[in-house]
């Protein structure tokens, strides 16, 4: 059996002496879609940035695809796609130029075709010649998603991926994520938008005060999750 995309044990991380992650244990297998919920400041973004190898964990062990994250060879990053709060795209370049730049960094074969496909998928053909600076929040988010999918990563880490998207784009993203999950890609998605994320989830987890305070395998009714969420927040307040 292949090594799991994510195996985290006791992950900790703080900023300026304030602990943000306080011992996160998380194993994500290929084909898993883990939806992370939690109040503001729970540590969701920090956890995703640690998993994306953008932050070093302060404590614990992290292995991605069987490779210790502390070593983090450049090739490991080829298997990870990350969507953060920002688009990670240059405002003075167009969508196609941004994607072509990242395609070059990832040394993708047939990059122009791949870029054109993703520009079309993101519905940005009409704006493809405009600099990203002129994009709306939703358009920038579509581009951010296209950028993360560009190199067909085995592990997708998505921080509030539905933010700013219109209903059509939400449905498009949900379809794409479901296809990827069925194809064996692993997904970790942090959101406050349970209604949109729940249909994708094979596992739901609530992060609170830097720990996974509640987890549920398989699909769950949004109302049941909302009750669990309230219980966790109230119990640990």
């Amino acid at each position: 059996m292949d090594a799991p995309p994510i195996c985290a044990e006791g992950l900790g991380r703080g900023f300026a002496g304030t602990p943000v992650l306080a011992g996160v244990d998380l194993v994500v297998q290929a084909g898993d879609a883990v939806v992370l919920l939690g109040p503001n400041g729970a540590g969701k973004t920090t956890l995703l940035r640690v998993l994306a190898l953008l932050l070093r964990p302060g404590a614990g062990r992290l292995t991605l695809f069987g490779t210790a994250a502390a070593a983090a060879p450049p090739a490991l990053r080829r298997r990870i796609g990350y969507v953060g709060h920002e688009s990670l795209c240059y405002p003075d370049l167009t969508a196609a130029e941004n994607l072509a730049f990242y395609a070059r960094l990832f040394d993708l074969p047939e990059a122009p075709a791949r870029v054109a496909t993703l520009v079309a998928w993101a519905g940005l053909e009409g704006a493809a010649r405009r600099p990203v600076r002129t994009y709306s929040r939703g358009m920038a988010q579509r581009l951010a998603l296209a950028r993360a999918l560009l190199h067909a990563p085995d592990l997708l880490l998505l921080d509030e991926p539905f933010a700013g998207l219109d209903p059509e784009a939400v449905a498009m993203l949900q379809r794409r994520l479901e296809e990827l999950r069925r194809a064996g890609h692993a997904i970790v998605l942090a959101t406050h938008d349970l209604e949109r994320a729940a249909p994708l989830a094979t596992r739901l987890a609530i992060l609170h005060r830097g720990r996974i305070a509640w987890a549920h395998e398989g699909a769950a009714e949004p109302t049941a999750v909302a009750s669990a969420y309230q219980a966790v927040i109230t119990r640990r307040a």
Binding site: R49, A52, L53, L54, L55, R56, P74, A75, L76, R77, R78, I80, Y82, G84, H85, E86, S87, L88, C89, Y90, P91, D92, L93, E97, F101, Y102, R104, L105, F106, D107, P131, V132, A140, R147
Partner: protein, 221 residues
């Protein structure tokens, strides 16, 4: 190397499109040169001895503004995270940014050097080959140091003040070497500048290697 070339091409494309660095460098460069020249009002005999100081002071201050902008590009929209999430050695990011800065500083020199010749009545044409060697070595050393510290400062809130505070003290050996080498070239040619050129070369090698090795610790949290 592939990543470094991609970053270089991207930075040049953005600069070509916005012309923000070149515009600020041009305005600041002309302003500094005019102020320094008018303030000293040198006689034609004294002007050549003043030229190296005016040239390098103007170059350093205008270049500083341009180099800072290079890393601000990476802060906007968290683009640095995009670079760090790519399968690149951080040293490649350093090499790409360094190359872009060397070209930007080269453009700065294209503006500053002829203006120094014009305003201080110095015949630079006859010593151009030797002067180009000094300019290139000074450019490389300044860019190697400033690229590293611009990356350090880009992660802080006080980045606009931090870059000059960090870079200028460390730049003193390079500035002394560059001024002495330029004086020697203007007085008698490249052969006279051997010792100062050795200082510049050593500075370039030390800070280029330091940047290459340390960049990973600077940009990775």
């Amino acid at each position: 190397m592939r990543g470094a070339l991609a970053i270089l091409a991207k930075d040049l494309r953005i600069e070509w499109r916005t012309r923000e660095s070149v515009a600020s460098v041009f305005v600041l460069g002309v302003l500094l040169l005019v102020v320094l020249t008018v303030a000293h009002d040198p006689t034609p005999e004294a002007a050549p001895s003043l030229a190296p100081v005016v040239l390098w002071v103007t170059f350093v201050f205008t270049g500083m503004a341009g180099i800072q902008r290079g890393f601000l590009l990476e802060r906007e929209n968290d683009c640095l995270a995009g670079l760090l999430s790519a399968p690149l050695d951080p040293a490649d990011i350093y090499a790409g940014k360094l190359a872009a800065n060397v070209i930007l500083l080269g453009v700065t020199q294209l503006v500053v050097v002829p203006l120094v010749g014009l305003l201080l009545h110095v015949d630079l044409w006859s010593v151009l080959p030797g002067l180009l060697v000094v300019l290139l070595l000074g450019n490389l050393g300044f860019a190697a140091l400033a690229t590293l510290f611009a990356a350090v400062a880009a992660r802080t809130r006080a980045r606009e003040t931090l870059v000059p505070l960090l870079v200028l003290p460390l730049l003193v050996p390079l500035l002394i070497g560059a001024v002495q080498a330029t004086q020697a070239v203007l007085a008698g040619g490249l052969g006279e500048a051997r010792d100062a050129l050795a200082v510049l070369l050593a500075f370039d090698v030390v800070f280029a290697v330091a940047g290459w090795l340390l960049f990973t610790y600077v940009v990775r949290d």
